[in-house]
Symmetry: C2
Subunit: 338 residues, 2 copies
């Protein structure tokens, strides 16, 4: 069977069965945003790796090298944030075609360094290799988290509410605008949304507030689209979920794109990756305090978008008209669904 027939997540599941990670110093191996490793005292080490491949994750003619470097770092910092941790060190592996301009590579590194510097992350190592076609950047990110601040995908419980930081679907709206410049949308909106796609941010301050509160039960970053990412929480926590489309925080800017595309606004949120917001769960009684604390400390709005159900109740999305539909995991997957 080919990997394109199996799909990304089933492949990862198969590979996870081959490697042996049963040891006391591995708290979490494959299956969360980052691996969790025993470290000094009450601190845990977090480690994750992710890549940006030309033509797959980004289109070179759309993205300046500074933006690419920045983005490659952000996607990894976001994974550490989603565990409740602080990113600390990055290792960068670059594969470059021989004809790549040195100035381009330097600009990419400057973007990386600028983003690293904002959050005290240090690029401590790297590797440069030749590639036969296209640039790819693999970054491994190390971080630390206090044991009692660790956030997993697996802690959601029936009765919890589901929350999300900021707006969702803006990056996908921006991507649509890139691919279809004729969509009738105001120039300022266009620019704002395309920038949201090209220059995402890792929600590190927001993650710190959530982790420190001790009230959230599960967390993931929204990288593949809400439906897929909530699906991961459901799988790891063995729960179901009900989301309300009308509660989804889709900005007026993104709604204007949905309207121009003649698709329902909530589709942008459910299917849109690349926002790098945080989706988390908490007991309903804890939600108001959490929302207030995040807004006060970071200025970011947090929205309740649904509730956690027992696994047997399944996964649902209540559409704006009140119809109850299945929550289809239509997020981004490598291989399958292309």
């Amino acid at each position: 069977m080919r990997v394109s027939e199996l799909g990304e997540f089933p492949l990862i599941e198969r590979l996870g069965k081959i490697v042996d990670i049963r040891r006391a110093d591995v708290l979490v191996g494959i299956g969360d945003d980052a691996a969790v490793l025993a470290d000094r005292g009450d601190e845990l080490l977090l480690a994750t790796i992710d890549s940006q491949v030309e033509g797959i994750h980004y289109l070179p003619y759309l993205m300046r090298p500074e933006q690419l470097g920045r983005r490659a770092l952000v996607v990894n910092m976001s994974d550490i944030a989603a565990m409740g941790g602080h990113p600390q060190f990055a290792l960068v592996s670059l594969a470059l075609p021989a004809e790549t301009e040195v100035e381009w590579v330097e600009a990419c590194y400057r973007g990386m360094q600028a983003e690293a510097g904002r959050f005290g992350v240090l690029v401590v190592g790297g590797n440069v290799t030749r590639s036969r076609s296209g640039v790819s950047i693999d970054i491994a990110m190390l971080g630390r988290v206090r044991r009692d601040h660790l956030m997993l995908r697996s802690g959601a419980r029936p009765g919890d509410v589901v929350l999300v930081t900021g707006q969702v679907g803006e990056a996908l709206a921006g991507l649509h605008l890139v691919f279809d410049p004729r969509l009738p949308v105001e120039a300022a909106v266009r620019e704002q949304l395309i920038t949201r796609y090209l220059e995402p941010s890792a929600r590190i301050p927001e993650a710190a507030v959530i982790a420190r509160s001790g009230r959230a039960t599960a967390m993931i970053d929204v990288s593949d689209g809400l439906s897929g990412d909530i699906g991961h929480i459901c799988e790891q926590s063995q729960v179901g979920v009900r989301l309300w489309a009308k509660l989804l925080p889709v900005s007026p800017a993104a709604r204007s794109v949905a309207e121009a595309m003649q698709v329902p606004f909530w589709k942008l949120a459910m299917e849109g990756g690349d926002d790098y917001g945080l989706c988390f769960t908490a007991p309903p009684g804890a939600a108001p305090d959490l929302c207030t604390a995040i807004a006060q400390e970071t200025g970011t709005v947090v929205t309740v978008i649904g509730e956690v159900l027992p696994a047997e109740d399944g996964r649902h999305l209540v559409l704006p008209g009140g119809q109850d539909g299945p929550l289809d995991a239509r997020g981004w997957q490598h291989f399958g669904r292309e």
Copy 2:
């Protein structure tokens, strides 16, 4: 300027100037086999990243997927060993063409797991992405080292001797046999050398003895060829070096390939990467004990091949006839010298 005009190491030097790694918890950033990071008490964290790119680092029709997985892990474990450390955790990022067979990927992972298991390394995380052309495997490896066991490239002092573990040049001899099957070499020799190329080992037990001894002053793994790798020690230690070609431990098997190719045997050692032996320096008085300890504990022969000089005396290779030639860094470099 293109990266092919600048060359790998000058590019890395330029990129190293862009990133900021000045912080108390970074003992060594870019410029050694691995980054050295402050960790719990007297233990340091080691982190490195390296890649195997199809068509650049390996030819798919030569290497079974098990061998590729094994090798991708070995090159990284070797970097941790060269710092005097123990490899502990691996993160694996795979880029795969959509038509890759799932069974191939599983076999690659089995090879990785087999090698990891030999040395107590755990594959704790990963990432799978689509590639537009060819497989590439990026592995980030984490390890730990006791502060007083840490081995850097920068500690060699004039008067030290230069030593190397095992035989050098066998992997390159094997690669020549792969590319030129008509070379007149015995079948058993052919098989032995090709296996040395396809299935290298990280010298973890040897590195542990060297690090524990407290007597070695600098260390590197032989991945790009002795001349280039010793060059790195010279640069980081700000010393010169004199090697004697006739002392180089080139096996009879490798010598028979050199003879068949009509090149001097020592060229295989100086230019041949992929051996993953350890090259290290130590005061002359410490060398006999070190050689004995390594041989007793691991069965590996260690050979004195030269001496460390003051920087102003330059880098030399004394040829078998006694002529003194410059030590040319003709090791493997990405980009330049293609």
